[in-house]
């Protein structure tokens, strides 16, 4: 019998090498208690959370919690059904209404996760003989959506407008075209030149899908994302988003103005063949989304946090993923996985949690310490974070 696990041997080997150094396993952390959106207890120690994508700190919002508890009491713990059968409750509709209002768009479709939203929309929209043109640094859920469908997949160099245009022009006449972009790319925290890219896509007859998972609630005047901030949201055909970042729960969605959008509910398999979100989850999501629409002050404070952390880390001598802070993600570039793991552990010992990101999830095989800020990080906490980076950086030799 051949062992089907043999193909994982290289991954097992890298992992064993890393753990043999005596390091804490960076992919096996347990949050023992969560005190707030910014503080948890890990290994019995108070830990500042700087790697949770909880950008707007909605997870402990009293209105959000109350809405979830009420729905749990009134509608039970789960729907046990598909959206198209017994799994659409008034709460699911209310959540879609909240999204339509938030984005000022005609249609909204809620999926059980953000991953499934990309999987479902991309694989369903682009069929055989259609073309999907996507940024090479796209999220795994976008690639998996491509793999689930039958379209021709054409990647282009990250954020390269000319490369996108060249590929669009080479697509055979008459073929359907879907361009897939992200507002914020989550590894380095850089944003896309959506204004130019959407213009080029439209000029070449393509429909455009933008994943705004990491910008919702924060970027743009109303928190609608990078497409709003760059003034071209009306030219975007589909926006994909998630409830598991700024919204503070779990779930995914697609909003659109396409007149035939609603038919997707019947033809999109990752929407149809899975159970809908629990009533408490859609209730928390809807409440959170409505509050996010009016959170300009929190958005301003989050920008302050992002700017201060970026400037502070640079001053300490760290290499960062972007020259200027472009989002609530600040990526610290590590020279290699071993140093990255050492630095990650040193930070945890100081009382700070960040994400360790390594190949193949990262571009150009980089090892990153990915920091995502929260609007509820206080000015004092940002100061503490910088002090911990300084101490850990010196202890591991990352900085002088």
């Amino acid at each position: 019998m051949s062992d089907l696990f043999a193909k994982f041997d290289p991954v097992i080997e890298i992992r064993e090498q890393l753990l043999a150094t005596g390091r804490t396993d960076p992919f096996n952390l347990v949050m023992e208690k969560v005190e707030s959106p910014t503080v948890a207890i890990c290994n019995g120690k108070r830990t500042i959370l700087l790697g949770t994508y909880n950008y707007m700190g909605m997870t402990f919002d009293p209105d959000v919690i109350a809405a979830g508890k009420k729905a749990l009491d009134e509608f039970g713990s789960g729907t046990t059904g598909s959206r198209v059968l017994n799994g659409t409750y008034v709460g699911h509709r209310a959540c879609e209404e909240a999204l339509k209002d938030f984005y000022a768009m005609d249609h909204a479709m809620v999926f059980s996760t953000g991953y499934q939203a990309n999987l479902g929309i991309i694989s369903t929209l682009a069929g055989k003989d259609d073309y999907i043109v996507l940024d090479i640094d796209s999220h795994a859920s976008i690639y998996d959506g491509c793999a689930l469908g039958n379209a021709q997949i054409v990647p282009f160099r990250h954020n390269d407008i000319d490369a996108l245009e060249k590929r669009l022009k080479r697509i055979p006449e008459g073929a359907g075209k879907l361009v897939v972009l992200e507002g914020v790319y989550s590894m380095l925290g850089d944003i896309a030149p959506l204004k130019e890219m959407v213009a080029v896509s439209k000029a070449n007859g393509a429909m455009v899908l933008v994943d705004e998972a990491h910008s919702m609630g924060f970027i743009g005047e109303h928190g609608r994302g990078v497409a709003e901030a760059q003034g071209i949201i009306d030219d975007v055909d589909f926006i994909i988003g998630t409830f598991s970042k700024s919204v503070g729960t779990v779930g995914g969605f697609c909003v659109s103005n396409h007149p035939k959008f609603e038919i997707l509910r019947l033809v999109c398999r990752p929407y149809v063949f899975t159970a809908s979100l629990p009533p408490s989850v859609v209730a928390t999501a809807a409440t959170s989304i409505r509050k996010l629409a009016n959170s300009a002050d929190k958005r301003a404070h989050l920008w302050e946090n992002s700017k201060r952390l970026h400037a502070g880390l640079r001053q300490l001598g760290f290499t960062l993923g972007t020259d200027e802070p472009q989002s609530a993600i600040i990526a610290v570039i590590m020279p290699d996985l071993e140093t990255g793991a050492a630095m990650w552990e040193a930070l945890l010992n100081e009382g700070l949690y960040v994400n360790l990101a390594r190949p193949p999830a990262t571009p150009a095989n980089m090892t990153l310490l990915r920091c995502s800020l929260c609007a509820l990080h206080s000015a004092d906490q940002v100061g503490e974070i910088l002090a911990m980076f300084a101490a850990a950086g010196r202890a591991t030799g990352c900085i002088d």
Binding site: Y131, I136, C146, Q152, I153, V154, P155, F156, R157, A163, K166, R167, R170, I171, P360, P363, A364, N365
Partner: protein, 80 residues
Amino acid sequence: MSDRQQTYAKTLAMIAPFNKKGVAITEATRFAQDLEWDSLTVLDFVATVEDEFDVLISMNLQAEIETVGQLVDALERLKA
């Protein structure tokens, strides 16, 4: 030179700057195993080839191309 020979010669010239290990190239040379290219190198090389021949090599097609000879054959089909 036949069309195919010309395409092969052009392909060899385009591989050269990416052939950091100086592997001797034949039609049977495999991109992943022999040249040990990572995904970013593949992207850059494919872009170079696409621009040279003004064609589109989708990821679906790339998945079927393992060797230099197979790339030349694919280019001959795409140009036709």
